[in-house]
Symmetry: C2
Subunit: 181 residues, 2 copies
């Protein structure tokens, strides 16, 4: 059900087509929710049927026409109700940790190599987020309420990636003691 609300949340700030949404799910909204274009188009049809959003076809020259979706009053109301409703704690799934859990089956250097790879992937993500922070949210206390909300989403991403990199380093250095075997 959360995908529906992630779409509504995005449409709340401005109307968008399925294609636009797919792009946002690769960047901004993508910090905390991912969805492929296939999922998005399917969900948009469902939401339109329920009349939480409405579509307007925009004719374009030199480009395919697009259907631009807008949040309806009903949709906005449903979004507000959902925000106010206490939510469950999100448990995350980490493939690397599954590997590590049975990591004693392979020589430590294999694990270290994989952890090093992940360290670099997360480091790259961290740099990207930090760049965005500097560019769009230079002075947090001066932001208006809507911007603060989105700034705090980005802050989560930054903290998470920073911490992940730290954990990789801790893990690598502990495993290095067993490198002889």
């Amino acid at each position: 059900m959360s995908l529906a609300y992630a779409i509504l949340a995005t449409l709340a700030s401005e109307p968008a087509s399925g294609y636009d949404l797919a792009k946002k799910f690769d960047t901004s909204v993508g910090f905390f929710w991912q969805a492929s274009h296939q999922q998005i188009y399917r969900e948009l049809n469902k939401l339109e049927e329920k009349e939480w959003i409405e579509a307007e076809t925009v004719f374009q020259e030199g480009r395919p026409n697009k259907k631009v979706y807008t949040l309806t009053t009903l949709g906005k109301q449903k979004m507000i109700e959902w925000i106010a409703k206490p939510g469950k704690i999100s448990r995350h799934k980490e493939e690397v940790l599954v590997k590590l859990f049975a990591g004693y089956l392979v020589p430590p250097r294999i694990l270290i190599r994989e952890l090093e790879r992940h360290r670099q992937l997360h480091l790259r993500q961290l740099e990207k987020y930090k760049g965005m922070q500097q560019k769009y949210f230079a002075n947090p206390p001066s932001l208006d309420f809507p911007s603060k909300c989105q700034y705090l989403s980005l802050r989560q991403g930054i903290r998470y990636e920073h911490d992940y990199v730290g954990w990789c380093e801790e893990a690598i250095s502990l495993l290095q003691e067993d490198l002889s075997s």
Copy 2:
């Protein structure tokens, strides 16, 4: 596919029944991978068919019989191959952040209340993990290789929860400035 490997990883350390596995997915393995008993039983059948695991029925008095699963040589080999194969970065989905992203639709106090709830849930989780760390992994450098691997999984959980609590506090204190509206 990862659920299969999460089960194999668990069976690698000791044979277990579906019921035993379900319990572990609520505790230790549950730090980084969650699964319901329905999923587990379905997956166990698939893995038995592929001969990655094998079952032995254990007759019990006063209790229902159980099927205890063991990793086969093939299963162990598949697990080792999977560990060595470079994996993708796991992106996490955070419902609270979807709420925050459209959080300007509701008064700040609603958001603060929800963030406070999550702060407490994660704090409780953190205390639980810290307790486990003290109990089972008091002196990390002295641990053997297999224990180190499992210790590092727990460390991730601890870091994650600690950081999450920190983010909640940061978010709450920033939003408190808008509390008048």
